[in-house]
């Protein structure tokens, strides 16, 4: 039993950490966000060169052959720098879906380009009416000749402004809420009929509304069997939730550290505010919240490994990742709000980094379901007859 990262994992973790500390200071990040692209292509190329983009991919495609532990290692450090380059969207989510795809040709075509840094990707699943329900899909994929025609609207598509390719969920059969009948297609951002309306999110990352009007796709663009998209999504969901939670953990730890440090220097009523017992106890609570979140993340990592090795059933892991995301929501909210409150007026300013960490934490909370959503999913698995 151990909760250490392996030597290899530690190396990559350290390398991301060094990048954040040495090259990704707050002003650099602000400059990137304010640039036209909103991301740094140079840094992305560097990520590719350092091998970070290859982490979770199989060696046959040129990948590093890592697992969720590797992803968590990278994402936690990215969180500490609130890196806006779309690593989660491209590598963890989009890349994760492709890795789990049964379409060998498609994988061979796309994965190497992700690794090389030439393909930014995104998963377009949300619709105006769907909120967090992945199976609430009204975008249609109508059979047409050898392929399908896609019609529908996808909203708040992560990395929408820069993604070259999207995995799009569309319904090949069934009714609006049916679990089966959802299919996943790889769609090019520049394909005829694809309209991308991009905008900024408050965390500096981009998003878009994706309108699909008679977009023609062929069988080769299906990630797996038609109608079987939900199964593939569920298979990848632990990796997605773990990746985002690891990023959140990095943010939470950073916010706590910054707040404790500030409380030691900020003087009010003739003493550092960190000497006031009420604030001390609240910082103890945020510290404990962060440690509990870390423990839940480690639980997810250990169980992922067990599932991969066939020793634990996937339901236990599903319960854990729902609990993990709900825990991130709970403590993330408390930690973010306490960070602002304890910083006082200065915590309210755009100039200070605190608010920006908080905003990314808030965005993670609503990505792939908020706290209540995941806790209810947890309840469903735990307490149903």
């Amino acid at each position: 039993m151990n909760f250490e990262f392996s030597e290899e994992q530690t190396m990559i973790k350290d390398s991301v950490s060094r990048f954040v500390r040495e090259q990704y200071d707050f002003d650099t990040r602000r400059g990137i966000i304010e640039s036209d692209d909103g991301i740094s292509r140079e840094f992305w190329t560097m990520f590719a060169e350092l091998g970070w983009l290859s982490v979770p991919f199989a060696e046959e495609y040129g990948g590093f052959g890592g697992n969720v532990v590797d992803i968590a290692a990278v994402m936690e450090e990215m969180g500490k720098g609130i890196v806006v380059e779309p690593y989660a969207s491209t590598v963890v989510v989009f890349g994760g879906l492709l890795s789990a795809s049964t379409n060998a040709a498609l994988k061979e075509q796309v994965i190497p380009s992700i690794i090389e840094g030439n393909c930014l990707g995104s998963f377009a699943y949300m619709e105006p009416q769907s909120r967090y329900e992945m199976s609430d899909v009204s975008t249609t994929a109508t059979a047409s000749g050898d392929g399908y025609t896609l019609n529908g609207v996808k909203t708040v598509v992560a990395n929408g402004g820069t993604a070259n390719k999207f995995v799009v969920s569309a319904r090949t059969s069934g009714e609006q809420f049916d679990h089966s009948g959802v299919s996943l297609f790889l769609v090019d951002a520049t394909a005829p009929g694809v309209d991308v309306k991009a905008y900024k999110m408050m965390d500096g990352q981009s998003a878009a509304t994706l309108t699909l009007t008679d977009v023609a796709v062929d069988q080769g663009q299906l990630l797996n069997a038609a109608g079987g998209g939900m199964g593939l999504i569920e298979q990848v969901m632990p990796q997605i939730l773990i990746g985002l939670s690891a990023e959140a953990l990095g943010i939470m730890a950073t916010l706590n550290t910054l707040t404790v440090e500030y409380s030691k220097t900020r003087q009010q009523f003739g003493a550092p505010i960190g000497s006031f017992q009420v604030l001390q106890h609240r910082m103890v609570d945020t510290f404990m919240g962060c440690e509990q979140t870390k423990s839940m993340l480690y639980r997810g990592l250990c169980e992922s490994k067990s599932v991969a090795e066939g020793e634990t059933d996937a339901v236990a892991l599903a319960k854990t990742v729902h609990a993990l995301k709900a825990t991130v929501a709970r403590y993330g909210k408390i930690i973010g709000e306490e960070a602002i409150q304890l910083h006082g007026g200065i915590g309210m300013t755009d100039e200070l980094n605190i608010g920006h960490y908080v905003k990314r934490l808030m965005m993670i909370n609503t990505s792939y379901g908020d706290g209540d959503f995941h806790q209810k999913a947890f309840n469903q698995l735990s307490y149903s007859a």
């Binding site: 909120r131 909203t155 809420f177 408050m202 009523f269």
Partner: protein
């Protein structure tokens, strides 16, 4: 045990409602609500002049200076109706903050010079209290005003100054002597914002907006006639003002209106085909707030009733700010929870149809800026310290 209003009060309430319905038109609503629009100042001033014309601009003032002469019940009714109608309060710095200090502690010349212009919204005032090193601990302020014949020479920095960018005047607490107690040696000065040596630097807040500022004073000469009361006694005047400020911070009517909005939106936000308002868990989250608000409404009424009866507000008045801010923040949080992924969208030029959602930006803005509610005006931590001491005797 009775909350009935008299027939006169009911008639007054109807008059207020009718006036708001007739005069507070939709166009104004939008402009008054958006502090970032270019004609915000003129919209506010326009609306306030309309209130002044009606004679309702200064319910809190004594009648001799231009107050309404209303009973406490009428004041309460007016504020309640304003909140329920969603009309923003008047900009408080002139009408509610400096004016009471001027008419209570100012000279006859100062009253004559400043009060009529405040009533008519001719001068826009801002507040110079907080400093980088003096937040909740206001007495730690260090901006200096050195006596030099006819003038005080002011040097220092004031921060969190709301709408300083629009202001003609600023009222400041400045240090005129180094007393033994930190509260001594502080004076209350009125300063013309056009005086040379004043620089206003915008502060953008985490909602991405600009309403706060830093105000820098570099050898700013302020005529001694702009000193309120006695030199070195400013803390006393400011404290009296703070007590004034503390009543009516529960903003129950505003929260009620927001909560109604929340319920409405919970009927249109759908998850899994079902409106969120039917979700048993979300219902609990809403009623956690609604029940607190129902109680707070009566706490406010209790405070008001004892004041209306000519008494002092009881210990229950001390919780108005804490509970009021906690409730409004809780509503903001649920609003943002309802907005889901859309809550973070800086959709810019996209219409709500193009974005796929219609209240996300508002929900985000209120949540983010609303975090300040438990920080300013005496943080909620300081409020609890005060109750522990003053009410519980700890």
């Amino acid at each position: 045990m009775d909350i009935k209003f008299s027939a006169e009060d009911v008639a007054f309430r109807n008059e207020v409602r009718e006036f708001f319905a007739a005069e507070y038109i939709g166009e104004a609503t939008t402009r008054l609500g958006d502090s970032q629009s270019t004609d915000y100042k003129s919209a506010i001033v326009g609306w306030q002049k309309k209130l002044h014309a009606k004679g309702w601009i200064a319910p809190g003032w004594p009648k001799e200076y231009g107050g309404t002469g209303w009973t406490s019940t009428q004041k309460f009714i007016y504020e309640t109706e304003r909140g329920l109608a969603g009309i923003p309060d008047v900009v408080p710095f002139g009408l509610k903050m400096v004016a009471p200090v001027i008419y209570t502690f100012g000279s006859e010349e100062q009253k004559a010079r400043f009060l009529p212009r405040i009533l008519n919204s001719d001068d826009w005032w801002c507040q110079g209290y907080s400093e980088p090193g003096a937040g909740s601990d206001l007495a730690a302020l260090s901006t200096s005003a050195d006596y030099a014949g006819d003038n005080y020479i002011v040097n220092g920095r004031k921060i969190w100054t709301t709408f300083a960018q629009y202001a003609d005047w600023i009222f400041c607490l400045v240090r005129t002597s180094k007393g033994i107690r930190r509260q001594e040696g502080i004076s209350f000065l009125l300063i013309d914002m056009n005086t040379p040596g004043i620089t206003v630097k915008p502060i953008v807040t985490i909602d991405g907006k600009h309403s706060l500022n830093e105000v820098l004073f570099e050898d700013v000469a302020v005529p001694t006639e702009n000193l309120i009361g006695e030199q070195d006694k400013g803390w006393t005047y400011a404290k009296a003002l703070l007590a004034h400020e503390r009543t009516g911070m529960a903003e129950v009517a505003d929260s009620k209106r927001m909560l109604e909005g929340l319920k409405q939106r919970a009927t249109t936000e759908i998850n899994g085909g079902k409106p969120m308002i039917e979700d048993p868990v979300f219902q609990m989250r809403m009623s956690d707030i609604e029940m607190e608000l129902m109680a707070l409404e009566y706490t406010e009424l209790r405070v008001f009733a004892s004041m209306a009866a000519g008494g002092m507000p009881g210990p229950e008045s001390s919780l108005l700010k804490i509970k009021g801010t906690e409730i409004s923040q809780a509503i903001h949080e649920l609003q943002l929870q309802l907005a889901a992924n859309y809550g973070g969208a800086l959709a810019g030029d996209l219409s709500s149809d193009e974005l796929g959602h219609d209240f996300a930006a508002e929900a985000r803005g209120k949540y983010m800026y609303g975090r300040a509610a438990t920080i300013y005006g005496g943080s909620n931590e300081v409020q609890r310290n005060v109750i522990a001491k003053a009410v519980l005797g700890l």
